[in-house]
């Protein structure tokens, strides 16, 4: 809101400049208001469960069987909170090295004839709708895992599908960040007689660090919020997974599975899952910001 003050004579005129400023302010307020209103809406809708069931019971109840209502139902969200975190973290762990190395290959090692179609291919991967990934996972990946360790629909399947989905985000962000590294850095490294790998690890990657980190965080956000694909491959059983072959249910899948069928306290409890998800994503954004800031300072 603090634009530089102009001389008072000119500021009263309705110049195109002021028109632009006010339009932009309007857009800003609108965007902010939508986010704020969604948050308010979530809180209002989940109020019934938060007051009737109490926040504590979402952590301490023995299980998740909410359809019996506030008094007799049970409302433990912790396994799903964990399911969301584990699938997203696993996917980021798998996809980050893959994405980074594919960007390095594309930017540095691949000849132009290969690099261009390869980049298009990655962009295509980014454009495939999530439900298609989910469908592929359900009919190919899950039966494949089930051959080794039934039931197949598992944390592992979710991690692999999500990794595939966020891989292009990381690869494209890393590719863009690497292309933004100033030429003179690379020439300087070459002049010092550094080899290709030494140039990359010592010069290019540190210079592209913040761009790559942004890509990873965007990808993590997508992994946290993904619904359809994980719903189809994760098994959706509300239990603490003991191994990667056990099924999990994520908060998003919980909402998608039960929302259409839920009434009363059950419905309200699903809004609480939405609220938890919002808090989780906010935490991620804050963490990302603090990491960025520390890097700039240090």
């Amino acid at each position: 809101m603090s634009t530089a003050r102009r001389p008072s004579g000119r500021s009263r005129q309705w110049t195109s400049d002021r028109l632009l400023v006010w339009t932009l302010r309007g857009c800003g307020v609108l965007t902010g208001a939508v986010v704020a209103l969604i948050a308010v809406f979530l809180v209002v809708e989940s109020f019934g469960a938060l007051s009737g069931v109490g926040l504590l019971r979402f952590f301490s109840d023995p299980s998740w069987h909410p359809s019996a209502g506030a008094a007799e139902g049970t409302f433990n969200l912790v396994p799903m909170l964990l399911g969301t975190l584990l699938t997203a973290a696993g996917a980021v762990l798998v996809a980050t090295p893959l994405g980074l190395f594919s960007a390095l290959f594309c930017r540095v090692y691949a000849p132009t004839a290969v690099a261009r179609p390869y980049r298009r291919l990655i962009e295509l991967l980014a454009g495939i709708p999530s439900v298609v990934y989910g469908f592929w996972g359900l009919v190919v990946l899950v039966p494949l895992i089930a051959r080794f360790r039934p039931p197949g629909a598992s944390l592992l399947a979710g991690v692999l599908i999500l990794a595939l989905m966020i891989l292009p985000t990381i690869a494209l962000a890393a590719d863009a960040a690497l292309s933004g590294v100033p030429r003179r850095y690379l020439r300087g490294a070459a002049a010092l007689g550094l080899g290709r790998w030494a140039t990359l690890s010592g010069v290019a990657l540190p210079a592209a660090r913040s761009g790559i980190a942004t890509g990873v965080i965007l990808a993590a956000g997508r992994a946290l919020g993904e619904t359809m694909a994980v719903l189809m491959v994760c098994g959706n059983v509300v239990e603490m997974p003991a191994s990667v072959f056990d099924p999990v249910r994520t908060l998003t899948a919980n909402i998608a599975l039960e929302m259409a069928y839920a009434v009363g306290d059950h419905r309200s409890a699903l809004f609480v899952s939405g609220l938890f998800l919002l808090v989780l994503v906010s935490g991620l954004v804050l963490a990302a910001e603090s990491i960025e800031r520390r890097k700039v300072v240090g």
Binding site: W22, A33, A146, P150, Y261
Partner: protein, 295 residues
């Protein structure tokens, strides 16, 4: 001073606009006052049939029919609150729901399905209970090839789940599921995808899929084969009515739609979906038609 007032005014205007946008988006699908539109919400088992009937009804009457899925409980709730003109429920009305009027348009059964390659040909009720509660975890214990059982259960709130549990006298908390699924189609794909899986779905959907070559096997229940014909004959033990529900007696044009949905004019649609036309209308239909499809 003018700057502050201006900015305040525009701020509040923008917020107001945003509020309007959001509230407009949040309004639930309300039932139409005008006679030219009907809103149906509820059971995902009834919805495909209602949509097909709706298309034919639209063509003959000019009244638009909107069908939205959301499960039987939502169908009942929406009909009660007036959010829908007609609710759809894939179960009979229970005690405490006397304020609603229900009209059966078709019947359907629920059957246990396994993978086609599974050698198990039948399961007793007790065995089904033991499998779903986790007391039997290996196919070897029920005469199949040894290997872990993958129990496919439905998500909370679905009427297929409620009926299945009620029939076998299980509480959902006792069920030891390996996979939890949403609709019938997902259940069929999950069971088709692995040899050790066992689940339960609508007979109509399962028969339809098996006929298309999907590798699943419908198990008989209490020695009655899980077929549409047996549901039609009233012999299959786990059958359910597919109902249209209204608050009190239906008003026009809901009345016309319900009459149409129960008439013989839609029997081919019911049978196309592997469902069984409602018994009352079937009896009337058989009087005039000498050779029904059932042999």
């Amino acid at each position: 001073m003018t700057r502050t007032i201006l900015s305040l005014a525009s701020l509040s205007l923008a917020t107001l606009a945003a509020l309007l946008l959001v509230t407009a988006g949040c309004r639930p699908a309300s039932s139409s006052q005008s006679a030219s539109r009907l809103v149906l919400t509820g059971s995902s088992t009834v919805a495909p049939l209602a949509a097909e009937i709706g298309k034919r009804f639209e063509a003959s009457s000019g009244i638009r029919v909107d069908v939205q899925t959301g499960g039987s409980s939502r169908g009942l709730a929406d009909a009660r609150q007036g959010l829908a003109d007609i609710g759809m429920a894939s179960r009979a009305l229970e005690a405490g729901e006397e304020d609603l009027a229900s009209f059966t348009i078709a019947r359907d059964g629920i059957c246990v399905i396994v993978h086609r390659d599974n050698p198990v040909a039948r399961l007793s009720d007790a065995q089904v209970v033991e499998i779903f509660t986790g007391r039997i975890a290996d196919w070897g214990a029920v005469g199949g090839a040894p290997g872990p059982v993958t129990v496919v259960n439905k998500a909370e709130g679905r009427s297929t789940l409620e009926l299945f549990l009620k029939h076998f006298g299980i509480d959902n908390r006792q069920v030891r599921a390996s996979v939890v699924i949403g609709d019938n189609e997902q259940g069929i794909k999950t069971v088709a995808g692995q040899a050790g899986a066992v689940g339960y779905v609508s007979i109509g959907a399962a028969e339809h899929a098996a006929a298309r070559g999907v590798p699943i096997k419908l198990l008989p229940m209490r020695s009655v084969a899980a077929t549409t014909a047996n549901v039609r004959g009233g012999r299959y033990p786990l059958a359910r009515p597919l109902n249209l529900v209204t608050l009190g007696e239906p008003k026009e044009p809901a009345r016309r739609f319900i009459d149409f949905a129960r008439s013989e004019a839609v029997h081919d649609l019911v049978e196309d979906l592997s469902l069984v036309p409602a018994l009352e209308s079937l009896a009337a239909g058989e009087a005039s038609r000498p050779s029904p499809t059932e042999s």
